[in-house]
């Protein structure tokens, strides 16, 4: 055999690994995280279709989504790929396959969920920390619902001539949006988001990662986003929120978020400027809390637990 004349072990290649250190994901590993996240959240959404919903007037006390599933994903794995995958699971498994596809409304939902999850996932440094998981669960729903409120309000402002001067309209929209927000935060964010994530993520930590050939997330090496200091984090978060709003508004102008699912309640908007300002305020407050939270946890880490506000405190602060 002529070819075998080459030395069997070219040392230069054998010890040159294809990829550097463990935190860097290969494209296959990214794909795995993505597909896993997509599959699980898709399944979770099919399951929520099954759960009967309790409707109290305009307010659905149903589980709009099982937020804990993607929260665990972004907490355990690389938040970017997990956050990109999860909302696609909803679009594909439920909306496309079950014949519920709602056009551009899907894009809106995808962006909202992605941003919520990504920010939440970056907040988590240690998936075993109940405090951080609680914050993550709440943040997902806060970001998601806040963005959706902004979009809804924009729809009303565009859809109705001088909406802010129509008597009673702004207030009623604000009221319904507010109720919806609170219910979503309590049910999807806390009951089916933060609390289950707090119960499951620590049990899965260190167990599920090896099944994908990944190293568990190391609290000593948090995600770059949170690592680069709070200022950068805040800027990025602000930027992302802003981009999503711009995206929402531009797509608003060209077309609309045509949805025919019976959650129109959110779509009756309000006097845009007025609400927009308060929405922006909420964003800022949430960000400030998030920043403080990150700072506090950094300090706590530095001081090795000299002070430790528990989950409830975090909840109150927000």
């Amino acid at each position: 055999m002529a070819e075998s004349s080459r030395p069997t072990t070219p040392p230069t290649r054998s010890d040159a690994p294809r990829r550097p250190g463990p935190p860097e994901l290969s494209s296959a590993q990214k794909l795995m995280v993505f597909v896993l996240s997509m599959t699980l959240f898709g399944l979770a959404n099919i399951v929520t279709e099954v759960i009967p919903e309790v409707r109290v007037g305009p307010v659905e006390v149903g589980v709009s989504y099982l937020a804990f599933v993607p929260v665990i994903m972004v907490a355990l794995f690389n938040p970017l790929y997990a956050a990109l995958g999860a909302p696609l699971g909803e679009v594909v498994f439920v909306d496309l396959l079950m014949g519920d596809f709602s056009g551009i409304g899907e894009l809106e939902g995808y962006l909202q969920m992605f941003l919520g999850l990504y920010i939440a996932g970056c907040l988590v440094r240690d998936p075993r920390s109940p405090r951080q998981l609680f914050a993550a669960g709440a943040v997902v729903v806060i970001v998601d619902k806040m963005l959706s409120a902004v979009v809804d309000i924009a729809k009303v402002s565009v859809g109705v001539d001088d909406a802010e001067f129509v008597p009673g309209l702004p207030q009623s929209i604000l009221l319904l949006e507010g109720i919806d927000f609170v219910v979503a935060l309590l049910v999807s964010g806390i009951l089916f988001g933060a609390l289950p994530a707090m119960a499951l993520a620590p049990r899965l930590y260190g167990k599920i990662e090896p099944l994908l050939g990944l190293a568990p997330r190391d609290p000593g090496h948090p995600m770059p986003l949170a690592q680069r200091g709070t200022a950068a984090f805040m800027l990025l978060a602000l930027f992302l929120s802003f981009v999503s709003m711009i995206a929402a508004f531009t797509s608003e102008i060209f077309d609309n978020f045509g949805v025919w699912e019976p959650d129109f309640i959110e779509q009756y908007g309000d006097r845009f400027l007025w609400i927009g300002a308060s929405a922006a305020l909420i964003v800022l407050v949430a960000l400030a809390v998030a920043v403080r939270f990150v700072l506090a946890s950094r300090r706590a880490r530095a001081a090795q637990g000299s002070h430790g506000p528990d989950a409830q405190n975090t909840g109150e602060r927000r």
């Binding site: 056009g103 949805v259 699912e261």
Partner: protein, 276 residues
């Protein structure tokens, strides 16, 4: 006495998938090129935002309602849509009345409702009867990410399998966990039990799915999925079957004509919801 029910089950999911897959209902838009269907939808998603004229909106609404009828949208979907719409409108009206609304509020709401309803009807007519694979091919050809169309196929593939596993795990919980001594006030214990079971079911599901995913992604690698992301040939072949014919063009032409007619009608008989 318990009875066998055909409610939500693995078989039900399979049935639903088959129904959407074979687009059994057929109808006006089901046979059209998906890109043109998406275009058709976009017309109705955009146009209503350019007018506050109730006559125009009503005409557009009528066109979309007719399209829904021709698309043979199931009565259940339609019924839910109507009930939802009426209820939501009532809530807003009630709230508006509470805050001192008047006739102009009602008119404003009519405008908004017509716009949203038109767009919703358009998405129903376009997408309910369209085979998801075809739809995702259409989106792919409009440069949507390849993951979208992969996700659709993969969902088709995995959904029944996953549902089956979910059922097995939930059944395991039903059989093996402590029986409830009492249902509690309004059955709250049952609610809590259902919720906790649901959450706990995801523990094994996540681990089992992770195991599956490893094989799947390895297989994707060998089947050139990542190769296709970098080389356009595969995409071209996949989308080669998308071919528009004169009927697709006709569809858009007729639609544009109808939209123009609506605006003409609105111009002739204007009805505005203005602020007094």
């Amino acid at each position: 006495m318990r009875k066998e029910r055909d409610g939500i089950s693995v078989e039900w999911v399979k049935l639903e998938l088959l129904r959407t897959a074979y687009a059994t209902r057929g109808g006006l838009l089901a046979a059209r090129d998906p890109r043109f269907v998406i275009g058709w939808y976009l017309i109705f998603a955009v146009v209503p935002w350019f007018t506050h004229n109730i006559t125009v909106l009503a005409a557009l609404f009528t066109v979309c309602a007719a399209a829904v009828f021709l698309s043979r949208v199931g009565p259940l979907v339609l019924g839910l849509f109507v009930i939802g719409f009426v209820l939501e409108s009532l809530y807003v009206l009630f709230a508006a009345w509470l805050f001192g609304g008047d006739m102009s509020t009602v008119l404003a709401l009519v405008v908004l409702t017509l716009k949203l309803a038109t767009i919703s009807l358009a998405s129903m007519a376009a997408f309910v009867s369209l085979d998801p694979e075809k739809l995702s091919d259409g989106l792919l050809s409009m440069h949507a990410p390849a993951m979208l169309s992969f996700g659709v196929s993969y969902g088709y593939r995995m959904l029944p399998v996953l549902m089956e596993e979910f059922h097995t795990v939930v059944d395991g919980h039903r059989l093996r966990s402590a029986p409830l001594a009492a249902k509690g006030f309004l059955g709250w214990r049952v609610v809590v039990r259902t919720a906790t079971t649901l959450v706990q079911a995801f523990y094994p599901l996540m681990l089992n799915t992770a195991k599956r995913t490893r094989t799947t992604v390895e297989a994707l690698e060998t089947k050139g999925f990542t190769y296709a992301a970098e080389h356009p040939d595969g995409r071209r072949i996949r989308l080669a079957h998308l071919r528009a014919d004169h009927r697709d063009v006709l569809l858009i032409a007729v639609t544009l004509l109808l939209v123009a007619a609506s605006f003409a009608l609105g111009h002739a008989y204007p009805l505005q919801a203005g602020v007094g």
